[in-house]
Each structure stands twice: as C-alpha cells, then as structure tokens.
Amino acid sequence: MELSGGEIIIRSLQDEGVEYVFGYPGGAVLHIYDAIFRQQQVQHILVRHEQGATHMADGYARATGKPGVVLVTSGPGATNAITGIATAHLDSIPMVIITGQVTSKFIGTDAFQEVDAIGCTRPCVKHNFMVKNVEEIATVIKKAFYVATTGRPGPVVVDIPKDFTAPNVKIPYEYPKDISMRSYAPVSGGHVGQVRKAVELLAQAKQPMIYSGGGVLMSESHEELRQLVRELGYPITNTLMGLGAYPATDKQFIGMLGMHGTYEANMAMHNCDVLLAVGVRFDDRVTGEIEHFCPNAKIIHVDIDPTSIAKNVDVDVPIVGDLKVVLKRMLELLAEDSRRANPEDIAAWWQQIEEWRGIKSLAYEYSDEVIKPQYVVQKLCEVTNGDAYVTSDVGQHQMWAAQYYDFNEPRRWINSGGLGTMGFGLPAALGVKLAFPDADVACVTGEASIQMCLQELSTAMQYGLPVKIVNLNNRYLGMVRQWQEFQYEGRYSNSYVDALPDFVKLAESYNHVGMIIEKPADVEGALREAFSMKDKLVFLDFQTDDSENVYPMIEAGKGHHQMRLHPKTGALN
C-alpha cells in the first residue's frame, strides 16, 4: 500500500489506536488535514485555541491513561501549544504533539509562520523529533508514542515539514510493530537488595509514614499501594498529584500534605522516623522549607526516574524502578516474613495522629448569608457521590477542590499541579468528557482562571460536551489576594478582577445553561439541577465570600510543623 506523508501520519495514528486528535488547522498541516477528511477512524476535535487542544489532550490522557494527541500548525500554532506542553511535562503526562513546519527548503529563512519548534519546545518536552524525510515518518511516530508512554511519561513533539506530507509523493507504508532505541531504555524492576532493605526498615519503624504521589496513578499501581498500606497499618498522605491513589474516606488516609495540606499529614511528616516515599519528587510545595523537612526520618524513595531521587532531599534507601513491580515485591517480602513493627508503637503513633486530626484543620465558618467556597465543593462531592471527574484551574478554588472533594479512586482529580496553569480546567474537562461521556465531569474554577481558556465553550457547543462548570466567583485573583493580605499588608495590587462578564448570558450565548447562585441555601439545589441536565453544559456561577482564605497553610520559609491555622476555627482548638 502506497501512501503520502500526510496519509502516513493519520494511518500511523490509527495503528496506534488513537481515538481523538485535538487540533487546529493551518497552512503547514493542510495536507494532513486533507488526510483526516478522507477517513473516519480518528476523530478530530477542532478547538478554538491551540492551548485548549493541549489541555484537552492532557485531560483525556490523565483520565484514561492513554496518550493524548495534538495536531497544530507551524509558527503560532506551535507556540500557542507550548503552555499546554509544559503543563503536561511538569506533571509527566503522556502526549504526542504533531507540529507542522514550513517546507524543508525554507527552514531557517524566517519564512511565513516559521518558528524553531524543536528549539522552542526542547526545555519542556520529554523528547522531540524533527522529521527529515517521508520514509521515516511512521518510525518517528512509533518512537514518539513509545517515548511518551514508557518510563516516566511525558510529552513528545514531532515536527514535520509540509513538503514531507504532500500528496504527490507516495511510498509503501508499514507501521513498525516494535521499536527499540539504543539510547532509551526505561527501567523496570527495582534493585532487589534495596527493596529488601526498605521492607526491613519499614518493619522497624515506630512512627512510620507513607507519602505517595502522581507516579502511583501513572503506573496504575494504586491497588498494590492500597494493599501495602493496609498490610502495614500505617498512615498515608497523598500529594496534590496523587489524590485518589488511596481512598480519601479511609481511616488510614490523613489528608493531602504540603503547603495547604492537613495539619495531621504535615505533623506526621515532621515527626515520622521512617518515611516511604512512592512516586513523588519532593516538590517545594510539598516539603516546605527543606532544612526542616522530616528531621528524624530514614527515607525510602521509590521512583522510576533516577533524577527524582536525591534531587531535593537526601534519601537513605533509593529504589529506581517501576512502582508496580517494586510494590508487588514489597508485598511478597511482607508475606514471606511476618516480622512487623511493634503494635504498641504503632498504636501510640496513631493516637498522636488522632490528636492532630482532632484539631480539624479544614474546619471553616459556615455562613447563612454568604456562600463559602468550601461549602460548594463539599456539596459538589455529595451531589456527585464523590464519583465525578473533577478538573480544576489554578488558585484558591484548586486547593479547596483538593481539600474538600473526597477522591476515592485514581484519575478522578485532574489539575495542573506542577506548572500551575490557569486555563487548564475547562479544556481538560472537555477531554475527560469525550473519554467518558456517561460520567459526571465538573470543572471547579474561578472567575479569573475560567477566562483564560473561555473560548473552549464554543468547542463544547460544537461537540455537545455537557460538563458542569463550578465557578467559585469571589471577584478576586483569590490566591494572589491571599498572599497580598498575608505578606503585603493588604495592598491588593492588580488582584481584583474588574469588568466581569455576565457568565449566565455568556453561557446562554453558546446555547449552554447559565445559573447564578447567591445564597448558601441555593447551593445544593443548583448543583442537583445542573447534574440532572445530562445533555447540557451548565455554567454555575457561585457568588462566594470574597475574603475567604485557604487554610491551613505553610508559609514561605516554614516547615511542616509550623502551619498557619484558620484564625477562628483553628484557634477554637
């Protein structure tokens, strides 16, 4: 079978089992779009801005575990995609981004819509490829999917000059079955001796702690993690990226850790003597001031990426490996050897943790008059039985969603943790909804974030994607305002969002449903009504308390044991 370069690209995507390509056409990719037109298998989702395409593919990838695929044109198509590529990169999300490039003979001449896409994306991809001829297109695409989805996943860019996709050159097509690259060999199992050492250390702990992150979700090893945690009976905390790996409503789960984590999770981190860190990277938002981090703990760190280990924090037992393999091995070793920590020590440790838990660091002041944002998230959790896919943007609402929605399953909580990209939530929700049309999908956002990719309301209309937008509208860049209150004596420099649109009318103009909710008593009813409208996108504009802050909080330079609690409810205890 002889195919043109453009046809080979699409045929390769078919052979990869790609369902959706999120993209936007332009001059350099017209041949590829023509190939899309002449087939049915791969569905193209036309976005309104390339950033939206990358976030949609990203949301799809986070919810399904399958790679997200993006197709954009050269120049501004590629540069507009970069924010989304960097977002995926920092959170290790598998994506393949195909960027059109100007015709090969014009490369380097500052041709129309020319940009060095390889150079521009290099710092924010796992890898990128420049296609050099028609013959290598299929192999390069195969390599791109292989690199994106194996090891520590990440985005891979494939830049293809227009002339290599032209219809006049046809070559035999064959999609490679397997691929191996001498310069890329992802690790699998961890070092057996190290795993044994880790298990022995865990069995000697008096005040153990387990800290797991996004790597557990990426490697689909939440079942193994849950078994391990239950077998040991130790407390567990999840990072922002790892929520859902361990059920939030389980007694052994002591909440998220880090800057806006629970008091009990952070205090347990600070006081533990053995820390098992799984699929995490000791991010600065998690560790607080590194000098104060886990001062008395022996640290076991399991991760697939050797660069994550001993990057920010020295560890005692480093284990490089696929979490699923390593955790399974740990379970086997525990089954073989019945030695465990002293139950009295562990009981005493739990008693201490329960005391910290008794502080109720997530308590807030409910009001009959003004809607508290935390209350909206709690009601969202109730109305959706804690079973919705929840995407978020970035800021206070993101933290409240992470704190008050009980994620009991993996891949349900979808947010930009590493890069912190405002504008992520809505397109990510659309990508999730495409993957799971029957599931409840909510985008928890704020009036500032939502406006950063608001144009995708139009994409939602075109493809009939009935997500629910939960807009916690406090008329401020809330997190900026909070920091200005705490650190800049209330000088609210440019954190007030003036001239807001009428979100209800705006939603209606796209044939969606808009609702404005101003009273706490109406919150639950509005949410129930919205989620009962199965085939409508509903924009719920909650007018929330404009002075609410996210508590508890570790401020800059402070450690886990120095949390700032809610001034009222925190002081009650």
């Binding site: 290099r122 796992k126 890898h127 310069s183 890329y184 990426d305 050797p306 990057k311």
Partner: protein, 166 residues
C-alpha cells in the same frame, strides 16, 4: 559540600539537535560547564563528547543522571571516578621578534610544544597536555607576548579495557 572538577564522557546519537540538548540542559538547570568537545567517532552514527564541569557531589550526581535521561545520550561515564587520560590541544600565537624568538622557542621546548607556524614577528605553538600544563604555559609566556589563544577543551578516555561502547 566540596566543589570538584569532573570530566564526563558521553556517547551521543550523531543527530542534529543532540548537542543542543546537552548544552541546553546545563543552562536550564544552572550547572557549570567549563568545556565541551564533540566530534563523530569511528562509528559515524555516534558522537563522542567530553564535558568538563564542576560541582558538589549532589550536583555532579544530578548532572550525570540528567544527562543519562536525555534520549540522545547513548552511554555516559564520569571519567573522574576511574583511571583515565584527559588531554587538551592548544594553539597559541605569540610575539616572536628579535631576541624574543629564542626565548619563546626555548619555552616551547621545555613544555614539549611544537612551533607550527613562523612569521617574521610571530610563532604559532601547538601544545598538548592536561589543562594545568596548558594553563602554566600561558602564564609563563605572559599576556604581553600572547596574540591569540585557542584551546580545544579537554577530551578524555578511560585507561585499560574499560571504555564507552554501545
């Protein structure tokens, strides 16, 4: 932690962009780079790179891990951890007129340098050796006399059977 100098040797895919990934990594993560040499090997699909950097132990560990993580890096070794040879080539153009000519020639001989070009007023001296020797020669000749210095940066190889192979 103490900062020390390390000579890291890499086998790279001989592809456009591979070198910029290596260089980009150093600027992106704020690592020091003292010198970098690169050229194809007897296998034309591979380039051999020698990189001289400095840092404390944790930084050097991160540098080697991060380099290894680059998809275009095929193999890597920190030569500093093994017995190795690392040489640098220097060509130095110096003033050599009148009585200076003999003096310069004598210095070059002491350092086992070769005069590879002669004009009425200048010599070009080629000198190979470890970087300290080259530094020493430059210092001895003195800035007054030096017209131009060009140095390759160190290239290194492990002694004995051990080596970087695919």
């Amino acid at each position: 932690m103490a900062v020390s100098k390390h000579v890291i040797s890499l086998l790279l895919e001989n592809e456009s962009g591979a070198l910029s990934r290596v260089a980009g990594l150093f600027s992106m993560r704020g690592y020091n780079i003292e010198s970098l040499t690169v050229a194809p090997t007897n296998d034309p699909t591979l380039s051999r790179t020698t990189l001289v950097t400095s840092g404390d132990d944790r930084t050097i560990e991160q540098i080697t891990k991060q380099l290894n993580k680059l998809v275009d890096v095929v193999r890597l070794v920190d030569l500093t951890e093994t017995s190795h040879v690392a040489y640098e080539l220097m060509m130095i153009k110096v003033r050599a007129a009148g009585p200076q000519r003999e003096e310069v020639k004598r210095l070059a001989d002491i350092y086992k340098g070769k005069v590879v070009d002669v004009t009425e007023s200048t010599f070009i001296i080629e000198l190979t050796g470890n970087s300290e020797k080259l530094d020493s020669f430059v210092k001895t000749v003195g800035d007054e006399q030096i017209l131009e210095v060009v140095r390759s940066g160190a290239t290194g190889i492990a002694r004995g059977e051990r080596g970087l192979k695919v």
